[in-house]
């Protein structure tokens, strides 16, 4: 069958078109593998919740360069795939959920949902290596962060 396809001109053209489409289509509409992290920031040395572990040194250093808090603790981490032109929900805690939709561009629409109520929506291009961060104040001079990054592996 393949031999017959290769032997006639129409078959060769068909195979060339197939290869061409295979090389083009994945780059124009692809699913996203995203990581969403909920982080709690404080100037205290320890988190009141013993289940919260400190973030790794590189993440803490990066956050310290941008924000004023000294210590950062990971509350939850979720990795999910957002289908092309589709959406997925990341429930990071009972009170905090982000819904991410992949849009044409390619862009992402990130919707922050707090206590079941839509709070904020951002639409932007998410480039590899970039951190998209939602942040807000919390009680006792602390803060929360939702950090969304695109992972390399599919």
């Amino acid at each position: 069958m393949i031999r017959r396809l290769c032997s006639c001109r129409a078959g060769r053209l068909f195979l060339a078109a197939l290869l061409f489409l295979a090389s083009v289509l994945p780059s124009q509409a692809a699913e996203l593998k995203l990581e969403a992290k909920l982080i709690w920031a404080t100037n205290d040395d320890k988190s009141p919740n013993l289940e919260h572990k400190p973030v790794d040194a590189a993440t803490a250093e990066k956050l310290r360069k941008v924000f004023k808090w000294k210590n950062y603790f990971i509350v939850n981490r979720i990795v999910k795939t957002v289908p092309s032109r589709g959406a997925n929900s990341f429930e990071l805690s009972k009170q905090c959920t982000v819904e991410i939709r992949e849009l044409e561009g390619p862009k992402v629409e990130v919707k922050l949902i707090g206590k079941g109520k839509e709070v904020h929506k951002t639409t932007k291009t998410l480039t590899k290596g970039e951190w998209f961060t939602y942040a807000g104040d919390d009680k006792n001079e602390s803060a929360w962060f939702v950090i969304i990054t695109e992972l390399d592996e599919k």
Binding site: C6, R12, L15, A16, L19, F20, S23, V24, S27, Q28, K62, K65, V66, F67, K68, G105, K111, L112, K117, E118, V119, H120, K121, T122, T123, K124, T125, G129, E130, W131, F132, T133, Y134, A135, G136, D137
Partner: protein, 179 residues
């Protein structure tokens, strides 16, 4: 007389007709003066040709003479076809042709792929691409968005409007580029 009858008369003169048709032509000759006149004329002509046809003598035998002519014709035909045919491709090119044909196809596919990727990246370089749309969905919540170029981090900082009416972003960030 029609053309068929003329031809039949000539064939009859040369003794080439089968017996049945020969009888039919002889009957025609008995009834048609025109046919009889034509046959007489043909007989005279045949007689002239038979008596006066030049006879050439060749030094070789008949078979050898004609084989020489045939050989000459074949040689000249071969020379003409060789002159009109394109120069044969080099042997190495012929042996590589079966690889070069699919390779040229692959090269075309690669070219089209690179072209399409360039178009794709060009779309990524859209100057409007960096614009960000932010929308507060809760009236009590305010937001400040900024980009830290050094850390490649885009931040949307949310605050409660009631509790922080005079939000000062300098209190929050060490390195910011406000959007």
């Amino acid at each position: 007389m029609n053309e068929d009858q003329l031809l039949q008369l000539q064939a009859w003169m040369d003794g080439e007709l089968p017996a049945e048709e020969a009888r039919r032509v002889e009957a025609l000759l008995r009834t048609s003066p025109e046919a009889e006149a034509l046959v007489s004329e043909l007989r005279v002509t045949k007689g002239f040709l038979a008596g006066n046809e030049p006879e050439a003598k060749v030094p070789e035998t008949r078979d050898f003479y004609w084989s020489k002519i045939r050989g000459e014709i074949e040689r000249s035909a071969a020379a003409e076809s060789a002159a009109s045919a394109p120069a044969p491709a080099p042997a190495w090119l012929l042996s590589w042709r079966r690889f070069l044909a699919p390779l040229s196809g692959l090269a075309m596919v690669a070219f089209l792929s690179v072209l399409s990727l360039n178009l794709y990246h060009r779309a990524e370089q859209d100057p409007m691409q960096h614009l960000v749309e932010v929308e507060n969905l809760d009236e009590t919540i305010g937001s400040i968005s900024y980009k830290s170029q050094s850390e490649n981090m885009f931040v949307v900082y949310l605050y409660n409007k009631d509790q922080n009416p005079d939000m000062d972003e300098d209190e929050l960030f060490d390195d910011q580029v406000l959007q």
